[in-house]
């Protein structure tokens, strides 16, 4: 085990997969000469050369389409969006081409492509550069959506995503690149897609959290433990396919659920998880499922308002106390 940042873990995953399979290549804005806007691709141009690590113009729809074509032709592209905010420009290629090609070609063209980059809330970059888009992509059949919360998960899940034969949306949380954690040294270490991880075991309330909310949920669980409430924290890690079985098993044990997310509350991932819990574990619920979501407004620029728009530890604690009938 070595303790590294999520940024370094992602860099290791890319390096190892570039070395392991020569059909893998990176493409995106500033990924080569500048080492990536967030330095995730640091040193890779030098190591693997300009045929494997390619800078593009500011043309998201264009290079996303190039990637889909390369995948159809047998390569395994890793397309970096400088942030997922800019992936909005490329959605025609992602949704109408990448997600649907296997289906529309009757299984003739698999699309082993990864679209990756930072997403979620960032620090004071306002409405257009600070938003969570996972529910958009998770909506479409044909796409897989992955959101790691630890360095080990980031590395293991990115390697699995590159090796996967379906298009994967891989969303790295912009505020979490510097988070440190232990990562196995084994170069064959991977984390399977579609498998949730119980980050903390507990018996009174289940907290389902992903990405930025995982460390907050774990902190909330610590606070609540001192108040006599035992929380189980589950990180789905993959939003689609969603490991609902692990969540339902936990709910059957705890009878109460809080779902924490930084995205907007309406029509989102928590709404889907909540509906599935209701369908599969209705008779086990002792309280309504409680959601803790980002505010239903575009992300404010002002620091004080930004803080209010994103869930924090106190809001998760309050939600848990509410479903546990403590207040």
């Amino acid at each position: 085990m070595s303790t590294i940042t999520i940024r370094e873990a992602l860099n290791q995953a890319l390096r190892e997969e570039l070395a392991r399979d020569e059909t893998v290549f990176l493409m995106g804005e500033e990924v080569a000469e500048y080492d990536g806007a967030y330095k995730v691709t640091k040193g890779l141009l030098h190591e693997f050369g300009s045929k494997r690590v390619i800078d593009t113009p500011i043309t998201e729809l264009g290079f996303a389409g190039l990637g889909v074509g390369a995948a159809m032709a047998g390569l395994r592209p890793v397309i970096e969006f400088m942030t997922f905010n800019f992936s909005i420009l490329a959605t025609d290629q992602i949704i109408n081409s990448a997600a649907k090609m296997l289906y529309m070609s009757g299984g003739q063209f698999k699309i082993p492509i990864v679209f990756r980059g930072p997403g979620g809330s960032a620090f004071q970059v306002s409405s257009q550069h600070s938003q969570a888009l996972e529910s958009w992509y998770a909506y479409f059949p044909g796409l897989k959506v992955v959101m790691p919360s630890t360095p080990a998960d980031a590395k293991g899940l990115l390697k699995s995503s590159i090796r996967d034969d379906d298009p994967v949306i891989f969303i790295e949380q912009e505020r979490m690149y510097g988070n440190k954690g232990e990562v196995p040294d084994d170069p064959d270490f991977t984390v399977p897609l579609g498998v949730a991880d119980v980050k903390r075991e507990g018996k009174d309330v289940t907290i389902v959290a992903r990405s930025l909310m995982v460390p907050l949920a774990l902190k909330a669980a610590e606070t609540l433990e001192q108040q006599g409430v035992s929380c189980e924290v589950i990180d789905p890690r993959t939003i689609r396919p969603l490991d609902i079985d692990t969540i339902v098993e936990s709910v059957k044990k705890t009878n109460r659920v809080v779902i924490a997310e930084e995205s907007h509350p309406h029509f989102g991932v928590s709404a889907e998880i909540s509906a599935e819990i209701m369908e599969r574990a209705f008779d086990y619920l002792d309280a309504p499922v409680k959601r803790v979501s980002g505010a239903d407004v575009p992300m404010p620029y002002a620091k004080n308002l930004e803080n209010l728009a994103i869930p924090d530890v106190n809001r998760i604690v309050a939600a848990v106390r509410e479903v546990a009938y403590l207040d």
Partner: protein, 439 residues
């Protein structure tokens, strides 16, 4: 609004109840808390109280008939209230429903010019809502709208345990009944009012076929069914083995005579001495004062001794709690009092459950020796035979001694042969030399 009377859970093992006696007739006024009926559970006859005010409009289960937990057995309502919708939820097999409905004195069809009260009742939700997925509907009475507010989990737990949701106070927001409330209701046994036992009216039928012996069929009583169920769960999954020994009782008998001579009111029996000695031996052998609980073995700190008492239609084992800490006179008084109430069926559930070890004594019937069936989850039971003078060899001479033969049945899952034998050795040593009790 109408109050549905359902078969309540009156003992921890009760699955159905038999109406022993209705204390109110159809048409009688009843108020909340008043005794409504006596119900024969599997262990005792208990009183059921009314949970609503009004008139006992309909009896659906007659005296001598049984109903499973949670089944609608009667309806309390205003004299002129429409109870047709409530009755429509009763199982079709209930007796005389049709006939009685026709005889009912009050108008029950909503078309028949509803009275103001009936209108008000309808407005507040006289039609009870189903809260448990179409299983036996639970009565509704909690919220202003007449609905029981209950979490899905709590509703399911209540349905499984046969708990009347209406009898609970919800502790969640808006009075919602939640898991905690059901758990509290489950751990709090219902108070068992001391109801006198009434002789049961039993339908018996005689049969005679040519060449074969005559026989008669009597409906199996609740207690007989429970005994059958309990014993099958015992000899089936519980691997018994048996240890027998003879005990010279002369000194114990002499001690008993001596104590009773001091104070004739004490009335200590040999069985009381056996209970005291058993408790003392159990404390010395905690591995026998134990219970096999599938995933773990439970060892008890005190010797709670179950004493089998024969009653009119079966047997019951009232428990002398912490017999190891009680004096002979306390044990004697307690056993007398418990046996007395057992025979008149006035024991509370907590008084005949949860022993750690049991004693069955058939000495008074002249039985020399027998084997007893373990009452799970206890680990063992001691079967005590009659004390009789027998010739025995002592110091190469034949002498007469009071000999009592005991056989211990052990659950081999928790007690092994040598473990049981060592316990019995201690038991024999103390009983043959009761001075050990004061050492």
């Amino acid at each position: 609004m109408a109050t549905k009377v359902i078969m309540p859970k009156l003992s921890p093992t009760m699955e159905e109840g038999q109406i022993s006696r209705w204390l109110k007739k159809e048409g009688d006024k009843v108020s909340m808390g008043e005794p409504l009926a006596e119900i024969d559970t599997d262990k005792a006859t208990m009183e059921m109280q009314a949970l609503g005010n009004g008139v006992l409009r309909k009896i659906l289960i007659n005296e001598g008939q049984s109903a499973p937990l949670g089944q609608l057995i009667a309806v309390i309502a205003e004299p002129d209230e429409d109870i047709a919708s409530v009755l429509s939820e009763a199982p079709a097999s209930q007796p005389q429903e049709q006939k009685k409905q026709e005889q009912a004195p009050a108008p029950e069809q909503p078309q028949a010019q509803p009275q103001p009260q009936a209108k008000a009742a309808a407005a507040t939700g006289a039609v009870p809502s189903r809260v448990d997925n179409g299983r036996q509907p639970q009565p509704a009475a909690i919220s202003d709208s007449g609905r029981v507010i209950v979490s899905p989990l709590a509703a399911r737990m209540a349905a499984e345990a046969g708990i009347d949701l209406r009898s609970l106070q919800g502790s969640g927001p808006g009075g919602r009944i939640i898991k905690k409330d059901i758990e509290a209701a489950l751990t709090q046994p219902k108070p068992a009012p001391a109801a006198p036992a009434y002789p049961r009216i039993v339908e018996t039928t005689r049969f005679q076929q040519a060449g074969a012996s005559a026989y008669r069929d009597e409906p199996a009583t609740q207690i007989r069914q429970t005994i059958a169920k309990r014993l099958v769960t015992s000899l089936g999954p519980v691997p018994h083995f048996f240890l027998t020994t003879d005990i010279e009782m002369d000194r114990a008998a002499e001690m008993r005579r001596g104590i009773n001579a001091l104070d004739p009111d004490l009335k200590i029996s040999i069985n009381d001495v056996i209970i005291k000695v058993t408790a003392a031996a159990l404390i010395q052998h905690p591995e026998v004062n134990a219970s096999f609980q599938e995933k773990f073995v439970r060892y008890y700190e005190h010797a709670d001794i179950g004493v089998a008492v024969a009653i009119e239609d079966g047997l019951i084992t009232p428990v002398v709690r912490a017999a190891d800490q009680k004096s002979l006179s306390q044990i004697a008084a307690e056993v007398r009092e418990l046996a007395e109430r057992a025979r008149s069926k006035r024991l509370k559930p907590e008084e005949y459950t949860g022993a750690t070890f049991s004693i069955s004594n058939l000495g008074m019937f002249g039985i020399d020796e027998f084997t007893a069936v373990i009452n799970p989850p206890e680990g063992a039971i001691l079967a005590v035979g009659a004390m009789t003078p027998k010739p025995v060899v002592r110091d190469n001479e034949i002498v007469i001694r009071q000999i009592m033969r005991v056989t211990m049945s052990c659950d081999h899952r928790v007690i092994d042969g040598a473990t049981g034998a060592k316990f019995l050795q201690t038991f024999k040593k103390i009983l043959e030399n009761p001075l050990y009790l004061v050492v």
